[in-house]
C-alpha cells in the first residue's frame, strides 16, 4: 500500500475499490492504521485517516465521486505513465557531437 501524496486517490491509499462495502473499507483502513501507527508514522497516518474520511460511507463516496476535483487521472499521471513506457535513451559521444554540430 503506497502512501506518498496528500492528494492521492483515497481508494488507492486504502487499497479498495469504489464498489466495496463500508465494512471492507473500514477493515482496510484499520489494516493501514496498524501498518502506519500515528506515533511512528504521523504523516502516513494522517493521509490514511484523511483518505478514510473521504470514502468511509456511501454518502462520502458519492460526494467524492461528484465533487472531488482530484478524482480521476491528472496530466501528471499521464506524463508519469508515458515516461515509464520508454526509458531515456543513452546517446553516445558521436551522437551528442553530431547533434551539437547540427544546432551550431
Amino acid at each position: 500500500m503506497k502512501v506518498d501524496s496528500a492528494m492521492a486517490n483515497p481508494y488507492t491509499v486504502l487499497g479498495v475499490q469504489p464498489e466495496d462495502s463500508d465494512e471492507a473499507i473500514r477493515q482496510n483502513y484499520l489494516k493501514a492504521v496498524r501498518q502506519y501507527p500515528p506515533d511512528r508514522h504521523p504523516d502516513d497516518f494522517r493521509r490514511v485517516h484523511e483518505a478514510y474520511e473521504r470514502i468511509k460511507d456511501e454518502e462520502s463516496r458519492l460526494a467524492f465521486l461528484l465533487f472531488d476535483p482530484t478524482q480521476g487521472e491528472t496530466l501528471d499521471d499521464l506524463i508519469a505513465e508515458e515516461a515509464c513506457k520508454t526509458s531515456t535513451p543513452r546517446m553516445g559521444l558521436s551522437t551528442l557531437l553530431k547533434l551539437l554540430d547540427q544546432r551550431r
Partner: protein, 812 residues
C-alpha cells in the same frame, strides 16, 4: 627612379584613387602592378592605404601594404603592423572555417615575433581545428598566461576526447592522454548501460584535469538515465567554460529545465523535439499542454491536445482521448454548455457528463453564478448518467442541491446588491430541495437551520429546529436554539426542558449550565412577580446546583436574598447577602446588585434604605477599573432588559459620577475601556464616552473600535464636524483596516466619517458604497447611491447633524 614631383604627386593621387577599388584592379589581372604601385608610394600614403583597406575589411591588401612597409623599414612598428594584418586575415579565414589557411597565415605572423595573447590563442585554435596538432602544441609552449594555458589544455582535451585520434593523443602529455582515453571508454560504457563501469573509469580523473568537464557531463548523463533530473542538473551546472563539454552541458540542461519550451514557435513543436533531444515526444507534448494550461492558454492547450491525439494509433486513440479529456477538463476554464467543442477534440464521454461537472467545479472558485448554472445543467443530465447507480441518484441530487445552497450562501454573503438574483433560487430553497430528495442528512438540515437564522426567519427556523429534533432528539444546537426562542417568549419551563435535554446529550458543554442558570433566574423573577415565592425559591435552589466555581454567583445570591426578604425570612436573607459579598470581587458590585434586586423585589423600605446607605458608602470609595466596568456592564444589562425600578435614576447618576471619577485610571484593560465606553455611548453621556474612547485609542492603537467609538461620541455631542484628533485617529484606523483586509471595519470607519452613524439608512448606504469602492465593483453603476441632502460636492456636510435626525434623500 625619382619621379618629377608634380607628376609623382599626380601619380600618387591616381594610385590612391585606383587603389580605392583593388578588386577591380585584380580583375584587370594586374596583381604585380599593385605591388609596384605600393613601392612607389610614400610611407604616409601606405599608411593611408592600410587605413582604407581596414575600412574596406580587405585584409589581403593590408598584408601587401604592410609587407611593403616592412620591406622598406623592418622596424618594430612595421613588424607589429604586419602581424596585425596577418592576424586580421587569419580571423577572416577562421570565420569562413578555413582553419588550414588561417594557420598558414598565422605561421607567417609567428615567424615575425613571439606574438600577443590573442594571436597565440587564435593560432592554437586554428591548429586544433585544422588538425595540425604539432603546430598547435608549439603555440601552446609559447603561451605565457596560465589561464590561457588552462583553456588550451581544455580544448586539447576536447579534441582528444572528441576525435580520439592517435595524432592528438600522441602529442598530448601522458596524463591528458590517459584521461581522454578514460572519458572515451566511459562514454562507451554509458552507451551500453554499464553505469558501474562509467563510475570506475571516471573516478581517477581529478577535478583539475582538463577532462574534468567531460567527467561532470558523463555523471550528469548517468543521472539523467536514472530519471534523476535534479542530480543531472547539478552536475551539468558545474561545467563551465567554452569547451565542447560546456556547450553540451548547456544544451542538455535546457532540455531538462523546460522540455515544453518555445510552444509559440515552430508550430507548437519545441526545438528540443525537432532536434531529437527528447526521448519521448508524447511526454514532451504533455508537458507543453501542462505549461499552456499553467499560463491560462486554454485554446493553445486544446490545440496541442488535438495534435497529440492525432499522433496516437487508431486502435488506442479513442481511449487515450477520453483519458486526456478528463485530465485536461479539470484544469481548463470551460464554460458549461461548451461540451461540443470538447467532444469534438476528445470524443464523447460516454460514462459521465464529465465536462459539465468538471466545468461547474472549476467555476466555483471564479464565477459562482456560472457554477450554479453548470450544476443545474448537470442535474438535468444526472438521470442518464450510468456512473451513478439509480438508487443513488436521489442522494446525488440531494448533495448537488446542498452544494448549490452553499454556493448561494457565498453569493448572499457579498450583499443584496451583488449577484444575479435571477439565476439563483436562494440558499434556503436549495437546502429545502436537497432535503426533499434526502431528508435523512443531518448536515443539510443543519445548514437549512443556520440559513434561516441568518436570514432572520425566526419562526421558520423554529419549525426547522423542531423537524431536526423529531429525527435527532439529542441534536444540541437545535435544542439550544429552541431554548433561546422559548426564553424570548418567556416560556422558561419549556426552555429548561430543552436545556436539560441538551445537557444530558452533552454533559460537559459549559455554556448549557450557564444558560440553565439564566433561565432559572428569569423563571424565578417571573414567579416572584406573580408572588409565587416558594416556586421562585425552588428555581433559585435549582440554579445554585448548576453553579460552577468559575461562574459569577453574585446575581443569584442577590436575587435570592431579595426573595427571602420579601418572604420575611431575614436570617436566610442575611446569609445569602454574606454569600453574595463573599462571591463578589469588590463590595460595590454586590451592593449595587443587591440594591437593584431589593428595589425590584419590593422589599420593606427599611431594608432598602439600609442597603442604599451601604451602597452610597461604596460609591464614595476609591474608584477602580474593575468596579467601573462591572457597574457599567450591570447597568447596561438592566437597560437591555428594559427593566425599571424605583431608584433607577439615582443609581444612574451615581454610576455616571463613579465613571467620571474612574476615568484616567491606568489599570483599565482594553476590554474594560471598551465596555465602559459602549455603556456611556448607549447612555448618551457622549462627552465622557469620547474621553474613554480617546484613552482607549491612545493606549490600544491596534483596536480599531476606539476611533469608531470616539467618532460616534463626537457626533452624539452634536459637533458639526469631527475633531482633528478624531479625524487623525479615524484615518490611522482606516489604514490599519485596509492593511489587514478588514473590509467590514473599514466600511464602518468610512461610513462614520462621512455619514455620521451607521445606524441610519444613510449610514447603511454609505457602508455599501464603501464596500463597492473597496472592491472596485463595476456593478455599482446599476443604481446611483444618493448623497444626503446638504452634502457638499467635496464630501463635507453643510450643517450640524444629530444622530436622532434622519438623513434625507432627494432620490429615495
Amino acid at each position: 627612379m625619382v619621379w618629377p614631383r608634380s607628376s609623382s604627386q599626380r601619380y600618387e593621387q591616381e594610385a590612391i584613387d585606383r587603389l580605392g577599388h583593388p578588386t577591380m584592379a585584380r580583375k584587370q589581372n594586374k596583381p604585380k602592378t599593385l605591388i609596384l604601385h605600393y613601392q612607389r608610394l610614400s610611407i604616409d600614403a601606405l599608411y593611408e592605404c592600410i587605413d582604407r583597406a581596414r575600412e574596406r575589411n580587405d585584409a589581403r591588401a593590408g598584408i601587401d601594404i604592410a609587407k611593403e612597409c616592412y620591406r622598406r623599414d623592418p622596424s618594430p612598428a612595421h613588424t607589429q603592423l604586419l602581424c596585425e594584418q596577418y592576424h586580421r586575415r587569419a580571423r577572416q579565414l577562421m570565420e569562413k572555417n578555413l582553419a588550414t589557411e588561417a594557420m598558414t597565415v598565422l605561421g607567417h605572423a609567428l615567424l615575425l615575433g613571439p606574438g600577443n595573447a590573442d594571436l597565440l590563442r587564435l593560432a592554437f585554435d586554428c591548429g586544433l581545428r585544422s588538425g595540425r596538432y604539432e603546430a598547435a602544441l608549439q603555440v601552446f609552449d609559447r603561451l605565457k598566461d596560465e589561464a590561457e594555458k588552462a583553456r588550451a589544455r581544455v580544448l586539447l582535451a576536447d579534441e582528444a576526447v572528441a576525435k580520439g585520434e592517435a595524432a592528438v593523443l600522441g602529442h598530448a602529455d601522458p596524463p591528458l592522454r590517459e584521461d581522454a582515453g578514460r572519458i572515451r571508454r566511459a562514454f562507451a560504457a554509458y552507451e551500453r548501460g554499464d553505469d558501474s563501469a562509467v563510475s570506475a573509469e571516471l573516478q581517477p580523473i581529478g577535478l583539475r584535469s582538463p577532462c574534468a568537464a567531460w567527467k561532470w557531463l558523463l555523471v550528469g548523463l548517468s543521472a539523467r538515465a536514472r530519471e534523476d533530473p535534479d542530480a543531472a542538473r547539478k552536475c551539468w551546472s558545474r561545467v563551465n567554460g567554452d569547451g565542447t563539454a560546456a556547450r553540451l552541458a548547456q544544451t542538455l540542461m535546457a532540455s531538462l529545465v523546460d522540455p515544453s519550451s518555445d510552444v509559440a514557435t515552430g508550430g507548437g513543436r519545441s526545438p528540443l523535439e525537432l532536434d531529437g533531444w527528447h526521448p519521448n515526444p508524447r511526454v514532451a507534448r504533455l508537458h507543453q499542454i501542462k505549461a499552456a494550461l499553467g499560463r491560462g492558454h486554454a485554446k493553445e492547450a486544446l490545440r496541442l491536445c488535438s495534435s497529440l491525439i492525432g499522433t496516437i494509433d487508431r486502435a488506442e486513440r479513442q481511449a487515450y482521448a477520453l483519458r486526456l479529456g478528463r485530465a485536461v477538463c479539470g484544469l481548463i476554464d470551460v464554460e458549461p454548455g461548451s461540451g461540443n467543442t470538447l467532444q469534438r477534440i476528445f470524443g464523447p464521454q460516454p460514462e459521465d457528463h464529465w465536462y459539465t461537472r468538471a466545468a461547474a467545479l472549476r467555476l466555483e472558485d471564479t464565477d459562482v453564478d456560472e457554477a450554479l448554472y453548470g450544476w443545474n445543467l448537470y442535474l438535468r443530465e444526472l438521470g442518464s448518467s450510468p456512473a451513478i447507480a439509480a438508487p443513488l441518484r436521489d442522494r446525488a441530487r440531494s448533495l448537488i442541491w446542498r452544494r448549490m445552497g452553499e454556493l448561494n450562501e457565498r453569493i448572499e454573503a457579498d450583499g443584496p446588491f451583488y449577484g444575479d438574483d435571477d439565476t439563483s433560487c436562494g440558499a434556503v430553497a436549495c437546502y429545502r430541495k436537497s432535503i426533499a430528495y434526502f431528508p435523512d442528512c443531518l448536515e443539510t438540515q443543519e445548514k437549512l437551520l443556520d440559513s434561516l437564522r441568518r436570514d432572520g426567519e425566526t419562526r421558520a427556523a423554529e419549525v426547522q429546529a423542531e423537524h431536526i429534533l423529531k429525527r435527532w432528539p439529542t441534536h444540541v444546537s437545535s435544542l439550544l436554539f429552541s431554548a433561546e426562542r422559548c426564553v424570548e417568549r418567556s416560556a422558561f419551563r419549556k426552555a429548561l426542558d430543552y436545556l436539560q435535554r441538551a445537557r444530558e446529550a452533552e454533559p460537559f458543554h459549559g455554556n448549557i449550565s450557564r444558560q440553565m442558570i439564566m433561565c432559572l433566574l428569569l423563571s424565578a423573577r417571573k414567579r416572584l412577580d406573580k408572588s409565587k415565592i416558594d416556586l421562585a425559591r425552588k428555581d433559585y435552589e435549582e440554579a445554585e446546583t448548576f453553579h460552577q466555581a468559575t461562574d459569577d454567583a453574585v446575581p443569584l445570591y442577590c436575587k435570592w436574598a431579595a426573595l427571602e426578604w420579601r418572604a420575611g425570612d431575614a436570617p436566610r436573607a442575611e446569609e445569602l447577602v454574606t454569600r453574595a459579598h463573599a462571591a463578589a470581587v469588590h463590595p460595590l458590585q454586590s451592593c449595587y446588585q443587591l440594591a437593584i434586586e431589593l428595589s425590584r423585589a419590593e422589599v420593606p423600605a427599611e431594608v432598602r434604605r439600609r442597603f442604599e446607605s451601604e451602597l452610597a458608602v461604596q460609591w464614595r470609595g476609591r474608584p477602580t477599573a474593575a468596579n467601573a466596568a462591572a457597574v457599567a456592564g450591570l447597568t447596561m444589562a438592566i437597560d437591555a432588559t428594559g427593566t425599571d425600578y424605583e431608584g433607577r435614576g439615582t443609581h444612574r447618576r451615581a454610576v455616571s459620577d463613579y465613571l467620571k471619577r474612574a476615568h484616567g485610571l491606568d489599570e483599565f484593560t482594553e476590554a474594560q475601556l471598551m465596555s465602559v465606553g459602549q455603556f456611556l455611548l448607549a447612555d448618551e453621556d457622549y462627552r465622557l464616552a469620547a474621553r474613554y474612547a480617546a484613552t482607549g485609542a491612545k493606549r490600544f492603537t491596534e483596536n480599531l473600535q476606539f476611533p469608531l467609538l470616539m467618532a460616534k461620541a463626537e457626533y452624539g455631542q452634536g459637533l458639526r464636524r469631527l475633531t482633528r484628533k478624531s479625524r487623525k485617529l479615524l484615518a490611522r484606523a482606516k489604514e490599519q483596516a485596509a492593511k489587514a483586509g478588514d473590509v467590514k471595519t473599514l466600511a464602518e470607519l468610512e461610513a462614520v466619517q462621512y455619514f455620521g452613524t451607521i445606524d441610519s439608512r444613510a449610514g447603511l448606504l454609505g457602508l455599501l458604497e464603501a464596500f463597492a469602492e473597496f472592491e472596485a465593483c463595476e456593478e455599482e453603476g446599476d443604481f446611483a447611491l444618493p448623497r444626503p441632502r446638504g452634502r457638499r460636492s467635496n464630501g463635507r456636510s453643510r450643517g450640524a447633524r444629530s444622530p436622532a435626525e434622519p438623513m434625507l434623500f432627494e432620490d429615495i
